[in-house]
């Protein structure tokens, strides 16, 4: 089963290596990992997409919590928002193809961010399934490059993953 896990960490040098290293050496399967700063100074947030049963997920959470720089871990089992950003460069040979590709992009609400003679770059956000579907829809036209950020997520409503301000470092 696929799980989206958010990890709040102190953004010390090497923390990403610690998290990634732990995942690798404990043999957990991750689909993606995304990381970025939060609004709180000194804190970063990592999103992991992990596959495994409940026991595996429990171990992922517990092992992550053992890392000194990991402050909080949450498995987004509750209603949450999940988004992934992708840049997709597709080759377009002629006018007809260009129009077809644009139609597909419109259906997915992808934006054109670069147009060249023989290619277009689309920017798309959505959950991971939507991104995958978009990529597959464009495959017949000739994919030149695909860059996906991996999923990031956030619980809906009241539930908040953060540290009380005075605890922030």
């Amino acid at each position: 089963m696929r799980h989206l896990v958010s990890v709040l960490v102190q953004d010390n040098p090497g923390v990403l290596q610690r998290v990634a290293g732990l995942i690798a050496r404990r043999g957990f399967n991750i689909e993606s990992l995304a990381v970025g700063r939060t609004h709180q100074p000194g804190l970063s947030r990592i999103s992991l997409v992990v596959s495994g049963d409940d026991a595996v997920l429990e171990q992922v959470e517990k092992q992550l919590n053992r890392l000194i720089e990991v402050i909080k871990v949450t498995d987004h089992a509750e209603p949450h928002v999940e988004r992934e950003l992708a840049l997709v460069k597709v080759s377009v040979a002629g006018i007809e193809e260009r129009l077809e590709v644009k139609d597909i992009a419109e259906a997915f609400r992808a934006r054109i961010v670069d147009v060249a003679k023989r290619s277009i770059i689309f920017e798309l956000t959505g959950d991971s399934q939507k991104v995958s579907n978009f990529v597959e829809a464009l495959r017949p036209y000739g994919l030149l490059e695909v860059m996906r950020t991996g999923a990031v997520g956030m619980s809906r409503g009241e539930q908040v993953l953060r540290v009380r301000e005075k605890k922030a470092v």
Binding site: G14, G21, L67, I68, K72, K167
Partner: protein, 561 residues
């Protein structure tokens, strides 16, 4: 004051008495500062000896052991010892030098990515990049190493940080928002555990290395309830081995009584252990009749990792065992005890006497002669198992071995560390001819310190445990395990270092040799030339279960009688 002096000052403030280390280029400023420091330094002959000695010191005392090394090769020689300390939850702080920051990442002389390499083998590690961070980082390192589930912490100091002018303060506050170990078990979980114990008909209490500091509470719990007690390899001594309620060690080379007790138990109370595969055997066949497993551990990640747990209690063994002891009631388990007594009496640890000298009798003789009043260390292999079986440990922190990692060569450096941690106590290192040769250069360290360490090299001329497996599982094809044709004369080797060396070959001289070893003040090495094809039994083959236990050596059952 420069950074190096600040390092020593901060260590002093942590109460550090002794550092086990070896100098080199990038740690030289700190060695220079050491020249003026009241902290004692023990010069080991290899950095691995240093980290193991720090581990032995920590395990014998309960305090943090400290070791020090230079960059690159020096630091990398710590890796085995750090993983050893990690797996056996030992508080160690390792201090390493590194190349100056402007050279980091340039493949400089004696440069290695020590922080990257030691990340998986430490509980946490640091590289200090600002000289004024020294007091905070050292305070955090000691706090992390010694609290919660203890473990090793490495701090890497680039040379320029050691040389920079320190203008900071030693008054530091530890603020680790992601590190809050739970000491007090949840009262509701403790209540549930007590209720389960009340209903148990065939209970056992399993005690591990995480309860070495909780011996008094474990004792109170056991005596009050009358529960049978099993001590794991790491838990030996946390409950007295000679106590009538003690069933001994479980697992691969554990006692028949302990393994059968676990197999038939309906309720297992496990305190401070992690269900290592050497204890459980095949996990799906472990404790098949246990409807309730209560697991007490300070590390939540250990609970449910391998064994299904019905009542998890996250907390410190000392605190939780204390609460359980308070609430425990006398168990009405006479029938269960009758069964256990039968197993205990029928299958004690034993050996078949031979005309040759045997490891088991050597260990037993030392146990009898010392009345168990010694700290015992060992290497890894057959001699380690024999020591665990035949030396009865009645006191906590009296048995120091490499349980999780199984690191050959730890015996001598562990003994040096233990002897320094507990001056006035006798330390015996039961070692193997294979294990001993992995770190024997520390004889020089021992000679210099003139510690009361007795090394007993049980020389069977083989890598005995590997040979035993080849005997049982590889059709007796003894591949690369024969040492006898090139072993040194161990007594002469000791003498070469200025340490008294003795050789024992004759069974009849055993008592005399033991007396001579114990009577000699200071270090002694006794080489006991023992029967070369001894096997350790009982044995549960790897991946087996209690029912697969081989109680006696099958070779001897056929060939012997």
């Amino acid at each position: 004051m420069n950074g190096a002096a600040a390092i020593l000052k901060a260590l002093e403030r942590q109460g550090v008495e002794v550092i086990f280390g070896h100098p080199g280029g990038t740690i030289m400023p700190t060695y220079d500062a050491l020249y003026d420091s009241p902290i004692r330094h023990v010069l080991v002959r290899h950095e691995q000896g240093g980290v193991h000695a720090a581990t032995g010191y920590a395990r014998a005392s309960g305090r943090v052991g400290v070791c020090m090394a230079t960059s690159g090769p020096g630091a990398l020689n710590l890796v085995t010892g750090l993983q050893d300390a990690l797996m056996d939850s030992t508080p160690v702080v390792a201090i390493t030098g590194n190349v100056p920051q402007h050279l980091i990442g340039t493949d400089a002389f004696q440069e290695a990515d020590v922080v990257g390499i030691t990340q998986p083998v430490t509980k946490h590690n640091y590289q200090v990049r600002n000289v004024n961070d020294i007091p905070r980082v050292i305070a955090e390192a000691f706090y992390i190493a010694s609290t919660g589930r203890p473990g090793p912490v490495l701090i890497d100091f680039p040379k320029d940080v050691q040389l920079a002018e320190f203008t900071g303060s030693f008054e530091v506050e530890i603020d680790l928002p992601g590190y809050k170990p739970t000491y007090r078990g949840h009262p509701r979980q403790i209540e549930r555990a007590l209720e389960a114990l009340k209903k148990a008909e065939r209970p056992v209490l399993m005690v591990g290395g995480g309860a070495q500091h909780a011996a008094a509470e474990i004792f109170a719990l056991a005596e009050r309830s009358g529960i049978p007690v099993i001590t794991t390899l790491m838990g030996l001594g946390a409950f007295p081995g000679t106590h009538p309620q003690c069933l001994g060690m479980p697992g691969m080379h554990g006692s028949v009584a302990a393994n059968r007790a676990i197999h038939h138990a309906d309720t297992i109370l496990a305190i401070g252990l992690r269900f290592d595969d050497r204890v459980t055997g095949k996990i799906s066949r472990f404790a098949p009749h246990a409807h309730t497993i209560i697991h007490v551990d300070i590390d939540p990640a250990e609970i449910g990792k391998l064994v299904r747990t019905h009542i998890p209690v996250v907390g410190d063994a000392k605190w939780v065992a204390g609460e359980l002891a308070k609430g425990a009631q006398r168990m009405n388990i006479g029938k269960w005890w009758a069964q256990l007594e039968e197993w205990k009496t029928k299958h004690p640890f034993a050996w078949k006497p031979k005309p040759y000298l045997q490891s088991q009798e050597v260990i037993q003789a030392f146990w009898e002669a010392t009345q168990g009043q010694a700290i015992v260390t060992s290497g890894v292999g057959q001699h380690q198992m024999f020591a665990a079986q035949f030396f009865k440990f009645d006191r906590p922190r009296s048995w120091i071995n490499s349980g999780g990692l199984g690191t050959m060569g730890v015996g001598l450096p562990f003994a040096i560390g233990a002897a320094l941690a507990r001056p006035g106590e006798l330390v015996i290192d039961f070692d193997g001819d294979g294990s001993f040769q992995m770190t024997l250069q520390e004889l020089a360290t021992l000679k210099k310190l003139n510690l009361n360490v007795k090394i007993v090299v049980l020389n069977n001329g083989f890598l005995g445990m590997v040979r035993q497996w080849q005997d049982l599982f590889h059709a007796r094809r003894y591949s690369e395990v024969y040492l006898a044709d090139s072993n040194p004369d161990f007594a002469k080797l000791a003498e070469a270092y200025g340490i008294k060396g003795l050789t024992l070959t004759d069974k009849a001289q055993l008592q005399e040799a033991v007396r001579e070893v114990l009577a000699h003040p200071g270090p002694v090495l006794l080489e006991a030339r023992v029967y070369h094809e001894e096997g350790v039994f009982p044995m549960i083959p790897a991946g087996g279960a209690a029912e697969d236990m081989i109680i006696e050596n099958p070779r001897e059952a056929v060939a012997g009688d």
